[in-house]
Symmetry: C2
Amino acid sequence: MASRKEVADLAGVSEATVSRVLNGVGPIKEETRRKVLEASEKLGYVPSAIARSFARSKSGNLGVVLPYVPKAHLFSAYFFSEMLSGIGNKARDSGMDLLVMFRSPGEVMNYADLFRRQKVDACIILGAKDDHGELAAMQQLQEEGHPFCVMNQHFAGESFLEVDADHVEGSRLAVHHLTEQGYRKIAFLNGPDSYSNSQERLLGVQIGLKEAGMELDPDLLLEGNYSRRSGVEAAATIAARLDEIDAVFAANDRMAIGVMHGLRERGIEVQNFPAFVGYDDSDAAEMSVPPLTSVRVPFYEMGELAVSKLIHGSLVGSASTEASGSPSEWPRELLPTELIIRASSIRK
Amino acid sequence: MASRKEVADLAGVSEATVSRVLNGVGPIKEETRRKVLEASEKLGYVPSAIARSFARSKSGNLGVVLPYVPKAHLFSAYFFSEMLSGIGNKARDSGMDLLVMFRSPGEVMNYADLFRRQKVDACIILGAKDDHGELAAMQQLQEEGHPFCVMNQHFAGESFLEVDADHVEGSRLAVHHLTEQGYRKIAFLNGPDSYSNSQERLLGVQIGLKEAGMELDPDLLLEGNYSRRSGVEAAATIAARLDEIDAVFAANDRMAIGVMHGLRERGIEVQNFPAFVGYDDSDAAEMSVPPLTSVRVPFYEMGELAVSKLIHGSLVGSASTEASGSPSEWPRELLPTELIIRASSIRK
DNA sequence: TTGTAGGCGTTATCAG
DNA sequence: CTGATAACGCCTACAA
């Protein structure tokens, strides 16, 4: 493999000049540039990313932390592959590589070490929970001035850079869609309270009901864990009170589908199903029978946005990796959600 | 951030000794070790991964190339997230980090440059196609002696390190399951021929039919592109000849479900559906209505295996990153597939 | 068992 | 506009 020195020799210039040409830095005489490029081409020279990182003290990597994926599949693959694609494409445009890490079940991630070891210049955290260890790890990142972005989770009272969708509005839309059609007895199957997303959905549901002059019946508020199985389990409750329930709004598609399955298992026919609305508008919604009305979340765009913010904020790529912006610089702006209406929620 | 020199000073040893202790290299007096560890702990010293990479000329990264994910979602997110999890966990155990890259639509990947730039020490290629550019890129890798592994795609005549599942057997099992129950008019909806997986499925189908004293009716061999949509389209053909078809085997779950949807759209009732068998045993199979019989592929395990092979083969981690093994060292061993029987294929 | 010193391939600074 | 040259932080013979 050709070295830079060989290129320099062949081009009749110094190594420094080769470097400048290849990095497009500083003013270079056109002829010199051409000579260098030719020599480099001919020799098949490729600069070492490692050496460059070393010299610049920057890895050129964007870290992406993914949640632990248990057998139960609490998290939908759709969710993450969409976000990851968005992140990946945008990162590529910015010349960064993606370093992905899976959070492990027990272990509390020490995010700061990622930076200290210089494996990443910035990072995006997906599927975080609002628990003590997680919060502390992020606060440390913040204190040490490492650029990072949290997706799909809000930490109240903190000034983290966050990217999220408007789940309050998404949930309100879902409920409004139901009440508008005359459904009055709406059960809400939410996810665990430890995700801000769940709390936001609850709020949206309450707002939606209030708009229709109703309020959430505590008996009709159920909690699952975002897995299909938990939906199946919730179906037991729902089946038992089918006469007091005419619609079900679930906090994600997997649970909505789980409930449908559970009802079927109990011999309840589709025509006797309550109306259903899910959330995420994942593949599964489209594939479900009946096709599931669902709240679309722009995961892909959220991924892109997270990268843009990280880079655009001069948090990465600029000379100073110092402090991330102040709270006021990063107001919480939410991407819009949208209701996709399918057969499951249409009044028969 | 504490430097190694400070640690050395505090511990009263040389930097080299600090390095040895932290890397567990060479014989060290227990007391020295303790002193170094203490000093390092107290100062919060964290060695720079970049500098280490530089000194060792190894990035410590395992590259994972993912296919382009089009809007059409030809590839199932399930498929990749499972493989990625398997790869990720195993890689972590081996102290490697994952560098993921998305293939872009037009561009022919130059895999070799990844290595030349030293971004990765080894790489795993997912969702490769058997086309000219792809093959050439891999041959180059092979020639230059870079360790890599191809998953889910076989390149005949090449001696690449490959990890795949036994799709011939998986397909045979699917067909056998159908013929065993007396289904005789079996339509096969395959994927594009440019994936070896499709070819293997076809072979398995032929074997399965032959075992039952039948053979594949060319009119009942359909081709989709692994997307749900292509299944919906195939449903047109199937619906038109519903009297000549009593079972459908699709090369993946998405297409199987697409066919079901297509039939429903045409007003065909579930009780008049042909038997269905899908492939991959993805989430969707379980969520489908009726639940879809499918061939389980151990994607997670395949991911783990790929990493093991790459590492175990001393292809990575050892001093020599020279040639990858000879063909005979890497015979094509296939992970077992398994038929998961659900309602869709049970004789009513 | 430990210290010394050379080298890894770039970038960046400073002269010229 | 271009050429020297000093870091960069760690690993690893080699020497002691």
